[in-house]
């Protein structure tokens, strides 16, 4: 019988399984790269070359943010769940800080239009998330609904 002292603590236990965050982030990146030309076109039509630059910059920030979050969480979960909690909160602060610094650093540049930059930040983040959530909810919570290829069916 294991005693309470011999049992591993919740905070020091770790998850050595595959990192699903990276898979999710890879899907988001792939979807984002598919949608990027359309967003760039909208930015170019609406605001010209400065709209093109602003939309591209914002989309790059969002994709980099997702990738960084996945890498940090995957790394922390392999070490301990306590570190996972710390990395989740401080990673959030650091990533929001990085986005703020990046946007504030370029806001006075000639190629930056505030409206397409801001709108792209929010719409790209939420749009890619909803897109990915649709797939994840259909494949993890309800595995029977996972899309199958024609060979499997």
């Amino acid at each position: 019988m294991t005693t309470a002292a011999a049992r591993p603590s919740v905070l020091t236990s770790r998850d050595l399984g595959p990192a699903p965050e990276r898979q999710v982030a890879r899907d988001i990146l792939r979807n984002g790269l598919f949608a990027l030309p359309v967003a760039l076109l909208i930015g170019f039509i609406g605001w010209g070359t400065s709209g093109l630059g602003s939309v591209g910059f914002a989309a790059g920030l969002i994709l980099a943010n997702f990738w960084l979050a996945a890498v940090l969480l995957g790394w922390a979960a392999r070490i301990s769940l306590g570190l996972l909690m710390g990395v989740s909160l401080f990673g959030f602060l650091i990533r929001i800080g990085l986005i703020s610094v990046a946007v504030l650093a370029v806001r006075d540049q000639a190629w930056v239009e505030p409206v397409p930059l801001g709108v792209t930040l929010v719409v790209a983040h939420l749009g890619l998330l909803f897109w990915e959530t649709r797939f994840v909810s259909a494949s993890l919570a309800f595995p029977g609904l996972k899309p199958t290829t024609s060979e499997e069916s």
Binding site: V24, A25, V136
Partner: protein, 75 residues
């Protein structure tokens, strides 16, 4: 009067700072519950981590919206 000296830009920055508190609390609660779930059911850790990652990103969207409002109001 002090309040009268606050510019629109300062007000926007203050609001953004206040608005970032909510997502911070949300992420703390979300991750705490996820870690508890992983500790109780290690075999479900993959699913918990996936939903936790997406949950964090959704909560983060609130802070991002706050930042964008601050950026557009201060621009």
């Amino acid at each position: 009067m002090l309040l009268a000296e606050i510019t629109n830009k300062g007000l926007a920055a203050l609001t953004y700072g206040l608005g970032a508190i909510g997502p911070g609390i949300g992420i703390g609660y979300l991750v705490g519950q996820a870690v508890q779930a992983m500790a109780r059911q290690p075999e479900a850790a993959g699913m918990v981590r996936t939903t936790m990652f997406l949950g964090i990103a959704f909560v983060e969207a609130l802070a991002l919206i706050g930042f964008v409002v601050f950026f557009l109001a201060g621009a």
